[in-house]
């Protein structure tokens, strides 16, 4: 009954077998060891460190609830909004959080369509991050409307006024885009989870009745049947194909909120692609921040290898440069348009009262990722962690620059004002991180943080032809040196 032949002591390689690609799963792990490595964290006793982190996140969540309750009681006057600057932190935070979500969908859908097998190590947690980020994002426009109890007016629900939402408004497109994005991401995530929930279910001892029932319920009776996998893989492919244009549309629609208006600094056609690139950039920053911590804390170095991190850094470099290029293009177009309002808006951005925010954005988003041209720095975990934090900060400031600097100088100079956030603004932003990390910690504790079935699928032993020839893996694998442990590689 032994399945030792699928176990260790086999030569490992990934990729096409011709190039010297490092294996996607390091450390010569067997299928069972991969299962153990991931599933154990949901089964063992909750570590004290988790409680510590969860308490801190919960304090953040409490701050959010209190500041939102204070806002509901008093109205949006508690925020720093003033007359020309009618959109402040709430919209900045909204765009920031939606953007964060985009990396998860990029990893789960776009990289899937491009057959980027390395995505399997990070896609589960990146998708979870997407969902939690979009929850944070949905919060902000909801509380920003002022009269929260009337938020249902934004949905086409028959009501006593016999009125309907205005479908010609980009703000309404946004309601649809973000809520569809949330729903599809959630469904996509759950479909991916089903086989792994079945894995957890089957590992549950008979004594744990409640755990068995809950997992049995959510695993839907999954049993790995090939007749099921056939439909499952097709549905997964279709979801990826649907989520790809969706994710590109979501931040495009978010950018319409700005671009469809006639405010100088907002009214530009570059916004949709520039917002999408920025969203992916910021999202990868956040994925990197989370993964660097999670792989260390949960000892996932063999599954989320340094090669995975390096690939993510290349995407950060690429998208960061795209965003930087868009910043410069905006300036060029402002000059080239010949519109004095447009020119003023951009010169004011770089040299006006908010120059500090502008140059924070420029340095964090354009400058810092450029260090990733160097392979040494791309593979330095501490360095990439620092850069990922800078990316998060820089992308928050990008939205701040877009929203606030464009608004604070109106067409009428007598209306000009300077926007300063209040303590409630800042506390709500901090609180949204509390909400995000609370949800993310719950995910890490109770769900498999790596897509087990998908990781197993990219391991060389999953290939049926792997067992041909001498039965020692030479059927599919050519490169024996790739099987060396993580520590030995990279020297050659």
């Amino acid at each position: 009954m032994s399945t030792a032949s699928t176990g260790k002591s086999l030569a490992f390689t990934a990729g096409d077998g011709y190039h010297d690609d490092p294996p996607l799963v390091a450390g010569n792990l067997s299928f069972h060891e991969v299962t153990d490595l991931v599933a154990l964290h949901t089964e063992k006793k909750t570590p004290m460190a988790w409680y510590g982190a969860f308490s801190i996140a919960n304090i953040g969540l409490m701050i959010l609830l209190l500041s939102v309750a204070y806002l509901f009681w008093n109205g949006v006057g508690v925020w720093g909004l003033n007359n020309p600057v009618g959109w402040g932190y709430a919209i900045v935070n909204f765009v920031f959080w939606v953007g964060i979500g985009h990396a998860g969908t990029l990893i789960s859908a776009i990289l899937y369509l491009f057959r980027q097998k390395w995505r399997t190590a990070i896609n589960r947690s990146a998708e979870a991050m997407t969902i939690f980020a979009v929850i944070c994002a949905l919060l902000f426009p909801t509380i920003h409307v002022g009269r929260v109890w009337a938020i249902y007016w934004s949905l086409p629900i028959p009501n006593q006024m016999e009125m309907w939402p205005q479908f010609k408004s980009p703000l309404l497109w946004d309601v649809f885009a973000v809520s569809v994005y949330f729903t599809v991401s959630l469904v996509f995530w759950y479909v991916g989870l089903v086989p792994d929930l079945a894995t957890l279910r089957d590992r549950t001892p008979l004594t744990k009745k409640l755990r068995q029932k809950v997992l049995g319920f959510f695993a839907l009776g999954w049993n790995g049947a090939n007749r099921h996998w056939r439909n499952y893989e097709k549905a997964y492919l279709l979801l990826a194909a649907l989520a790809t244009p969706l994710v590109l549309s979501v931040h495009s629609v978010v950018s319409f909120d700005f671009a469809v208006s006639i405010i100088p600094g907002w009214h530009t056609t570059i916004f949709p692609p520039y917002f999408v690139a920025g969203a992916i950039f910021s999202g990868f920053g956040m994925v990197m921040t989370l993964m660097v911590i999670a792989r260390k804390v949960y000892h996932m170095e063999n599954i989320i290898t340094i090669n995975h991190l390096e690939k993510m850094n290349i995407i950060i470099l690429l998208t960061g440069t795209m965003v930087g290029f868009a910043y410069i293009t905006e300036f060029f177009i402002a000059w080239y348009s010949g519109s004095p309002y447009e020119q003023y808006a951009f010169i004011n951005r770089a040299t006006g009262p908010y120059a500090w925010a502008y140059w924070t954005m420029m340095s964090c988003n354009l400058l810092f990722p450029q260090f990733f041209w160097f392979k040494k720095l791309r593979r330095n975990v501490a360095f990439m962690f620092v850069v990922s934090i800078f990316v998060n900060i820089g992308m928050w400031f990008e939205r701040f620059v877009i929203v606030v600097t464009s608004l604070h100088r109106d067409y009428l100079p007598s209306a000009w004002d300077y926007y300063t956030p209040t303590a409630i603004d800042v506390l709500t932003l901090i609180g949204s991180f509390g909400l995000f990390f609370t949800l993310f910690l719950i995910f890490l504790r109770f769900l498999p943080m790596v897509a087990l079935a998908e990781v197993k699928m990219v391991m060389p032993q999953s290939d049926p032809h792997f067992y041909e020839g001498h039965g020692d893996g030479h059927g599919a694998a050519h490169d024996l040196s790739a099987g060396k442990p993580e520590s030995d590689r990279g020297k050659s």
Binding site: M1, T3, S5, T6, S30, F31, H32, T35, P156, E162, W164, P165, Q166, F167, K168, P170, L172, W173, F176, A177, V180, V187, F188, V191, P195, R201, D202, R203, G216, L220, G221, N223, G224, A225, N226, R227, H228, W229, R230, N231, Y232, K234, A235, L238, L239, L242, A243, P245, L246, S249, V253, A453, E454, M457, Q461, D463, P464, Y467, E468, G475
Partner: protein
């Protein structure tokens, strides 16, 4: 006729009827995906229809080995997408153009240009939900009870074990001959699965009479 159709439809979902003596089928374990693929080919060539392979991940080339055609999920998704597009068009046209027309700076009550974003979003939404609902429906899931779960070893199917199950509802099923075939194909062991129903108490209390055989 209808009964036969129902039975065959259920069989495509992996739901089979047990024999009168409660035998559900034979479950064989194989050492690795390669052996499983080879066994599936062998079982198909022997003329069996009601059989399935179970693995922790989809095995490449298994659909062909089992003689399964293309999945129907795509058609369901297409229907979902068209429905979403129709709903979005109707919603925006009827609410803005018919039920409560609002004249805003002389703009048309309904025009397709500003309607595109919502048409797009609802197309995606309906298509995605149809893909998932269709996938689960075609798979006959959720199915909390499955006689295969009576097998102690089968719990490793979501971890690192590879199984082939031949259902007793198959016309060619024969306890001895099928078992011999599975062993000839290199099964590590063959086990009889009985459909004991859910009344027998919680899973784990009653096990099917496992006929474990050493490797052939």
């Amino acid at each position: 006729m209808l009964k036969e159709l129902t039975r065959e439809t259920k069989a495509t979902m992996g739901i089979y009827e047990p024999r009168r003596d409660k035998v559900y089928g034979l479950l064989a374990e194989f050492s690795d995906p390669g052996a499983l693929l080879h066994a599936a080919e062998g079982v198909r060539e022997a003329g069996y229809k009601h059989f399935d392979t179970h693995s922790p991940f989809p095995v490449h080339g298994m659909d062909r080995a089992m003689g399964l055609g293309n999945s129907k999920v795509g058609y369901i998704t297409l229907v979902g997408g068209i429905t979403g597009l129709a709903v979005a068009t109707w919603l925006q046209w009827w609410t803005g153009g018919v039920d409560y027309p609002l004249d805003i700076s002389g703009k048309p009550f309904f025009a397709w240009e500003p309607s595109i974003p919502i048409m797009f979003e609802l197309t995606i939404l309906f298509a995605a939900l149809a893909a998932v609902a269709g996938m689960f429906a075609l798979n006959g899931l959720p199915r909390p009870y499955n006689p295969l779960f009576y097998s102690e070893n089968f719990s490793r199917v979501t971890d690192d074990a590879f199984f082939l199950h031949v259902a007793a509802s198959d016309g060619r099923f024969d306890m001895e001959k099928t078992e011999q075939l599975l062993r000839d194909l290199g099964a590590l062991y063959v086990e009889v699965i009985e459909d004991l129903g859910t009344e027998q108490g919680p899973a784990g209390d009653v096990r099917g009479e496992a006929v474990e055989k050493a490797q052939a």
